[in-house]
């Protein structure tokens, strides 16, 4: 965890640091670094492990409410103990490995996946002083780690030696490669605007308010809003969430690359998926929604990590809501959306952001002109490309399916 807090901040703001110092304060200097790191890891794992647990529950409950049924409500109060029951069930189940499977890869896949998912948590600033690792190129690190998870999914699909699993792996590859691009392109404008790849730097750049009312969050610029939308759509696809859950489409591929997994390995996959979702949401908050910054100056007394948690949970609920609402896409629609819509849009958005920062000195009516041009640059391609996307949907071509 990062630099010491100044004493002028509220106690709650400083509380995590004080706690850490209380735990590791007695250690000698070289060991303290190690201990601090370990402590961070433990904290992150604990918090997100619990979050994972209750997120699954929340998802089931919310899906239930949306589908007009109660959801799990038997274990504990309101079913609160359901995740733990599930966990116990998973751990105690038999671990089956198909005979024809590539044994080594079959084992390595879930481990790699989970490990890489957890790695991404390292660079997200959870609060004013709560960054596990300060990296100069933190965003790049995040996406590098995220990109590697694709490999693990492919390993899982291939190693299972199962027709469905392999198809799923193919799909997953196509999908992940396709959406990697808009995901990366959508945050490039942010880097352009803030001039840094460091997550703390990006959050710091979004501090302050215009007229003490509108925060300087990136989402409140035309290109920022567009970028956020692209980022969230791509994030949905990257985390294999509905409506982009083709690799594990139950109705088509049984369970995709998870078909031949059971027991604890399955639980690891499950966990990795939710971790990935949390990490991407956390990154979205960091990049676009001002990270841990408070939305209004008067609300600054609430500690920063609460704000972060709030935004994160909002986004996660959005993920769940979308899953409950939207049907699954077809594979050609999926790739079309990425290549013909999101990528050009993100590229244009880069141009818009460039225009925005070049014209930052404009004032007076030129400010209006700036907004008008930026809005046109955002809305125009959106309308044009959107028309192209929906027009002339031909019959489905079974090329790679």
């Amino acid at each position: 965890m990062s630099a010491a807090a100044t004493t002028s901040e509220s106690f709650l703001e400083r509380a995590p640091l004080l706690l850490r110092d209380a735990v590791t304060g007695f250690l000698p200097e070289p060991a303290r670094w190690l201990a601090n790191s370990l402590l961070s890891i433990v904290a992150v794992l604990a918090v997100f492990g619990l979050l994972f647990a209750f997120l699954t529950l929340a998802e089931r409950k919310i899906l239930g409410r949306v589908q007009n049924r109660p959801g799990p409500n038997r274990t504990g109060w309101f079913g609160l103990l359901q995740p733990f029951a599930d966990g116990i069930k998973m751990l105690t189940k038999e671990d089956i490995v198909p005979r024809a499977a590539d044994q080594l890869l079959h084992f390595l896949a879930p481990v790699t996946l989970l490990a890489l998912s957890i790695l991404t948590f390292a660079v997200i600033p959870y609060g004013r002083h709560l960054v596990p690792v300060e990296l100069d190129s933190a965003v790049l690190y995040f996406f590098a780690a995220g990109a590697a998870t694709e490999l693990a999914i492919f390993m899982a699909g291939w190693a299972s030696h199962n027709k469905y699993a392999l198809l799923a792996a193919m799909r997953a590859l196509a999908q992940l490669i396709s959406y990697e691009l808009p995901l990366l392109l959508s945050f490039v404008p942010v880097v352009l605007a803030t001039g840094t790849l460091s997550t703390t730097g990006i959050v710091a750049a979004q501090g302050g308010w215009k007229w003490h009312l509108i925060p300087h969050w990136i989402v409140f610029t035309p290109w920022g809003a567009a970028g956020f939308a692209i980022f969230m759509v791509s994030a949905l696809a990257e985390s294999n969430r509905s409506p982009f859950d083709l690799p594990e489409a139950e109705s088509e591929l049984i369970a995709g690359h998870l078909t031949e997994y059971s027991g604890f390995k399955y639980a690891l996959f499950f966990m990795a998926e939710y971790f990935g979702m949390c990490a991407l949401s956390g990154m979205a908050v960091t990049l676009f929604l001002g990270g841990w910054q408070a939305p209004l100056p008067v609300l600054e007394f609430i500690p920063s990590y609460v704000w972060f948690a709030g935004k994160l949970l909002t986004l996660l609920l959005g993920f769940i809501w979308i899953r409950a609402t939207l049907p699954r896409l077809r594979i050609d629609q999926l790739t079309r959306l990425a290549w013909k819509f999101l990528v050009p849009l993100a590229l244009v958005n880069l141009g818009t952001a460039a225009f925005w920062s070049l014209t930052s000195a404009w004032s007076g009516p030129l400010q209006l002109l700036r907004w008008a041009v930026a809005l046109v640059l955002v809305a125009g391609p959106f309308l044009l490309l959107g028309r192209g996307l929906t027009a002339g949907l031909g019959p489905r071509t079974y090329r790679y399916a």
Binding site: L105, L135, D136, S137, L140, Y141, F143, A144, A145, G146, A147, A148, E150, L151, F154, M155, W158, L166, M170, L173, A174, L176, I177, E180, G195, T196, L197, S198, P395, R396, T397, Y398, R399
Partner: protein
């Protein structure tokens, strides 16, 4: 020179040899991904943080994916056909040629008076990199951008081929 570096080198070279020699194409690819990660680790060790992450992002995240895709698209059987006699002789000559190159290289390196400056790694921030890229190297950056675009389009054109007459296109 320290243990970490040696470890990285060993792992990298080891995985690379395994990948090149392996029968299973897929294993080869995955092993190579590991080798690339090893190279990234070397970069990280040398202090080139940005290059390391870029290496992972591009090689592990993208190139290995594309390679896997190509493997799956062009796969005929699960394992590569056993090398014939011609293949074995070629392998032999290949190893000999490689050994010759390695020998020449190592010899040259050992003979050269290369004085390593023992100082710490030069600190370079991302911002500096960006400034350099946009300043003195702007033309090169542009050229690379054009190259990438052309390559992308070319790859699409090549891989798509002529769509007519593809049996799977007629449902």
């Amino acid at each position: 020179m320290n243990a970490v570096l040696i470890l990285i080198a060993l792992v990298t070279v080891g995985t690379a040899i395994a990948a090149m020699a392996g029968r299973n194409l897929l294993h080869s690819v995955l092993l190579l991904a590991l080798a690339w990660t090893g190279v990234a680790a070397f970069y990280l060790w040398a202090g080139a943080e940005f290059a390391a992450f870029a290496q992972v992002l591009v090689y592990v995240g993208a190139i290995s994916m594309v390679v896997l895709f190509a493997v799956l698209l062009t796969r005929r059987s699960r394992d590569e056909a056993a090398p014939g006699p011609a293949g074995q002789s070629r392998a032999l000559s290949a190893v000999m040629a490689a050994a010759a190159v390695a020998g020449v290289l190592v010899g040259a390196i050992l003979r050269s008076p290369l004085a390593a400056s023992p100082g710490p790694a030069p600190a370079v921030t991302v911002r500096q990199l960006g400034a350099e890229l946009m300043g003195p190297y702007a033309a090169a950056l542009l050229a690379v951008g054009v190259l990438l675009t052309v390559a992308l389009i070319g790859a699409v054109v090549l891989a798509a081929g002529d769509r007519t007459g593809q049996p799977e296109d007629n449902p």
